[in-house]
């Protein structure tokens, strides 16, 4: 048991129950919620170390939760790990841009999930192989002729690309460090730098993914069609 305190936000009751029993030996689950408004109330009162947040929720989706948390001015800021069945870029990228520190899919095994929770709890980014691949793609795709080279947010450094490439191939931080001759901590800081670029870049490929979820540009009504 790491002693970490967790809130789980997911509209599938069965899934929450599953996560609870899976994680019971590793973390303390201090709250659950099925929709954004409820989630925000639970998070504010329970002040967890990490929030496990689903993408597809009624009333605005996970993005609405992230936005409300950003607006709430909490201190410390709750750290969010996204856990979703979707691994589509249109779902992943807006969540990261709205402030999540990591993204994993629901097929992840328990040990990996606990590892991701611990990493996010420490304030570090957690990229699944799939997310690393998306990010590489976004920063590789030929952008509209931006004044790109000028702006370091628009591109990855060769080292950052190398780190992401290894993450996409499934290497753990320690191995990446050993292969590149740098410390695991330095690998972590490269991933953190990529996360910030992903959040701040105006690259077309990234903004497009974000816009497709109503995160930027659109009417800003939350844009989620989550109600079923």
């Amino acid at each position: 048991m790491s002693g970490l305190r967790l809130v789980v936000v997911d509209d599938h009751h069965l899934f929450r129950a599953g996560v609870r029993s899976e994680l019971a030996a590793h973390v303390e689950i201090v709250g659950e919620a099925a929709a954004p408004a409820e989630a925000i109330a639970v998070i504010i009162s329970a002040a967890p170390d990490v929030v496990l947040l689903d993408v597809h929720l009624p009333d605005g989706g996970g993005v609405a939760v992230l936005r409300a948390l950003a607006d709430a001015g909490l201190d410390p800021v709750p750290r969010v790990l996204v856990l979703s069945v979707s691994d589509a870029a249109e779902d992943v990228v807006p969540m990261i841009r709205a402030g999540a520190l990591g993204y994993v899919t629901k097929t992840i095994d328990t040990a990996e999930l606990v590892g991701a929770i611990e990493r996010v709890a420490a304030g570090d980014a957690y990229f699944s192989p799939r997310l690393a691949a998306f990010v590489l793609q976004a920063f590789t795709a030929p952008d509209a002729p931006v004044a790109a080279a000028e702006d370091e947010l628009e591109s990855l450094t060769p080292r950052e690309r190398e780190v992401l490439h290894h993450l996409a191939r499934g290497y753990a931080y320690k191995r990446i460090g050993a292969r590149l001759g740098i410390s695991a901590r330095t690998v972590e800081s490269h991933v953190g730098a990529v996360l910030r670029k992903l959040q701040l870049t105006s690259r077309h490929e990234v903004s497009h993914w974000a816009a497709s979820r109503g995160l930027i540009g659109d009417a800003g009504d939350g844009g989620e069609e989550g109600a079923t």
Partner: protein, 215 residues
């Protein structure tokens, strides 16, 4: 548990993703997708029925769920392998096939795509052998496939976190890896590199330079 939630959650995802898909398609393609969607709904219902009937056999349930998950993900990503005519689709097929056959889970990430050609077919076949090899020699370990399909060529990495090996000590039955993977790639002008060390897992890198068919 995760598998069951995946099946339960899918109708929601279908509903939320169709809009984005519509925007990027011509109408013939759209017809094809509609047909595929109908087929998919049918297959989801069948899978759910089978899951109920085989509830006593968790391994069978997990396998059914996994197969269905593959079909749905391919469709949701707008990459539906309607006819498996791209390299990405062929790789997805190979991964699904080996998962079923070897009863393992493989984490697959693909960026880019291009139409399939003989070199691509050889690469997919080489990837299949590398995956089978990983399943056999790294039982229970995590297996990853990362494919980068770009204008300058294709790179596919098949990696397992199994025990690894020293190449010089490869027992003769494992020479299959050399023929089936290295031989296949060489025959189409590509290359295969195998990197392994005890306790470090094994990674097979398959590479194709740009050919006439790829762009």
């Amino acid at each position: 548990m995760g598998a069951a939630a995946v099946v339960i959650g899918t109708p929601l995802l279908i509903a939320s993703l169709t809009r984005a898909d519509r925007d990027q398609a011509g109408s013939a393609w759209e017809d094809e997708r509609q047909r595929f969607a109908a087929h998919l709904h049918d297959s989801v219902l069948q899978t759910l029925a089978l899951v109920q009937r085989q509830a006593h056999d968790p391994a069978a349930v997990a396998r059914l769920a996994r197969r269905q998950e593959h079909a749905l993900r391919a469709w949701m990503a707008g990459e539906a392998d309607l006819l498996s005519e791209t390299l990405g689709a062929a790789l997805r097929d190979v991964v699904a096939e080996v998962e079923d056959e070897q009863r393992i889970t493989i984490e697959l990430s693909i960026i880019g795509d291009r139409p399939i050609d003989p070199a691509g077919e050889a690469l997919a076949a080489a990837a299949r052998e590398a995956l089978r090899n990983a399943a056999r020699h790294a039982a229970g370990a995590a297996v990853f496939v990362f494919a980068e399909i770009g204008p300058r060529g294709v790179e596919v990495f098949v990696r397992d976190e199994g025990p690894g090996f020293v190449f010089a000590d490869v027992p003769s039955e494992r020479r299959g890896l050399r023929d089936a993977v290295i031989g296949r790639m060489a025959a189409v002008g590509g290359s295969a590199a195998i990197e392994s060390a005890p306790d470090e897992g094994t990674e097979v890198a398959l590479r194709l330079r740009r050919t006439g068919a790829g762009r």
